[in-house]
């Protein structure tokens, strides 16, 4: 494959994605491509399908139609005789390694210390030696600024610290794309900043990121592209500067106005 081949830099490609929960459609005809090094923000009203879309990418939420390609590989299904059939748990798990997820409510392993949370995947999934995994963990902890918490249990940390450990855990797997599902929305307002600043730092390292967020200012600041979702569909997908410079839809404009107000009133 040639290095400047377009597909080569496509980390994630979502084609005509569809999903329903018990007959109620929650995603319909979603198309989205994320290139290596790109930061894409997904915004939109509550219930518009942002979480479901993100969880389809690593197949925590299986999709019904369309395709998800990670580095060109189909996620969740195998093509046999022109038909898509569910893939095995082993194959799905292997492909998941190219993604890292940061959860809204952190989801740290409560029975493990910070260090143990971070080396769990590298040791038991990637098969790295303990020493190598610990080295990775220390580097990741330095990135998120929590080197001094290495032996703490998650329950002893603040929400902001837990979320930074969550980010470090994802980094330790060295994924090709990081998925964030409203990483700051479960945090007290005074703790939001520390998490956003870590994410800004990752942006500076040219990581590939897909971020669902309600932090409009943050999205405007770090995203290369902004995707707006409404009722299970993407209704806008443009470079951030354009998107915020001139909203092309009255409902998007209203949404942005509302959220900017929320922000200014809450600080």
């Amino acid at each position: 494959m040639v290095a400047n081949d377009v597909r080569y830099t496509e980390v994630l490609r979502i084609e005509a994605l569809g999903k329903s929960f018990k007959g109620t459609p929650v995603l319909s005809n979603v198309n989205l491509t994320v290139h290596r090094g790109e930061t894409v923000a997904i915004i939109g009203p509550s219930g518009s399908g942002k979480t479901t879309l993100l969880r389809s990418v690593n197949f925590l939420a299986p999709y019904d139609s369309g395709k998800i390609l990670l580095n060109g590989k189909l996620m969740g299904y195998v093509e046999r005789g022109g038909r898509l059939q569910p893939d095995t748990d082993a194959n799905i798990s292997r492909l998941r390694r190219s993604t890292g997820m940061v959860f809204q409510r952190f989801a740290l392993f409560q029975h493990r210390t910070v260090l143990q949370n971070l080396i769990e995947g590298p040791v038991h999934v990637l098969g790295l030696s303990r020493e190598l995994a610990c080295e990775r963990a220390r580097t990741a902890l330095k990135t998120v600024g929590l080197s001094d918490k290495i032996d703490q249990y998650p329950a002893r940390l603040s929400g902001g610290q837990q979320q930074r450990v969550g980010i470090a855990r994802a980094l330790c797997m060295e994924p090709d794309i990081l998925l964030f599902d409203e990483p700051t929305s479960a945090l007290d307002p005074e703790l939001v900043g520390e998490v956003l600043s870590v994410m800004r730092q990752l942006r500076g390292q040219n990581r590939t990121m897909l971020i669902v967020t309600h932090e409009i200012g943050f999205a405007a600041d770090v995203a290369d592209r902004v995707v707006f979702m409404e009722a299970g569909a993407i209704i806008d997908d443009r470079p951030a500067r354009e998107f915020f410079g001139k909203p092309n839809n009255a409902r998007i404009e209203a949404f942005l106005a509302r959220h900017r107000n929320e922000r200014s009133s809450s600080i």
């Binding site: 690593n58 925590l60 390694r97 997820m101 769990e120 038991h124 249990y153 994802a170």
Partner: protein, 232 residues
């Protein structure tokens, strides 16, 4: 009564120890059964879920005494009747009272243990499984390394309770001649004609044993709790 107790305490104590041994063996069996049947009940495969559900429905429904008779009197006799050497080799050993009692109580308690372990797995927030999968773990690995270690801590108190239930249930083994505590009491009653004293002493032995076990389990529980929230 004190004199009576002093005379027979040794005999009763031997019976209690045998009952405790039987309980430990049955609990070990029940735990293994419970673990596998609970995992089956939560499996992604429909037929495994159905099989697990059937196990619980069946063995929760059979009274332990009936099960004991089935295992001790029924199975070896049936094997001999059929005359199949494989069946005789497999079921013949159930002729042994202790073995039969261990199996019957394991299978019975296994149904309850299944429900305890299943409930404790479901009590864990779903995000633990999801986070484990998000770092590339398969369902099995995530169960083993992330879900079960936390769930079994939740399951510990009800499992201790189940242990106590099994211990009291071992008194049923007296009917097939296992010389546990109840059987010892029956023998003393028959020999002395002091029925009331004989059975009161047995009751007191059970009560003390249960109190000791309960205290022990609370102490271990505190230790487990401490381990999950603080450093070592």
């Amino acid at each position: 009564m004190i004199e009576f107790a002093a005379t027979y305490a040794g005999l009763y104590f031997k019976g209690l120890l045998l009952g405790l041994g039987l309980t430990v063996a049955a609990m070990a069996g029940a735990f293994l059964i419970g673990l596998f049947v609970a995992l089956a009940r939560l499996s992604q495969r429909g037929w495994l879920r159905a099989a697990g559900g059937a196990y619980v429905a069946l063995f929760r429904g059979i009274p332990p005494l009936v099960l004991l008779y089935l295992v001790y009197f029924g199975l070896p006799a049936w094997a001999a009747q059929v005359g199949n050497p494989f069946l005789i080799a497999l079921l013949g050993p159930l002729d042994n009272r202790l073995l039969a009692a261990t199996l019957a109580f394991s299978v019975n308690a296994g149904a309850y243990t299944t429900e305890i372990i299943r409930a404790s797995i479901q009590a864990l927030p779903a995000d633990q499984m999801e986070a484990a999968k998000s770092i590339g773990m398969t369902h099995g690995l995530a169960m083993r390394r992330i879900v079960l270690p936390q769930s079994l801590r939740i399951a510990f108190p009800p499992l201790c309770n189940e242990f106590i239930v099994i211990l009291k249930g071992t008194s049923l083994a007296s009917v097939i001649g296992v010389t546990e505590l109840m059987r010892s009491a029956q023998m003393v009653a028959a020999a002395t004609f002091l029925n009331l004293q004989a059975y009161i002493l047995a009751a007191m032995f059970y009560v003390v044993a249960v109190i000791v076990l309960q205290t022990l389990s609370s102490l271990i529980e505190l230790k487990l709790l401490a381990g999950s929230t603080t450093g070592d």
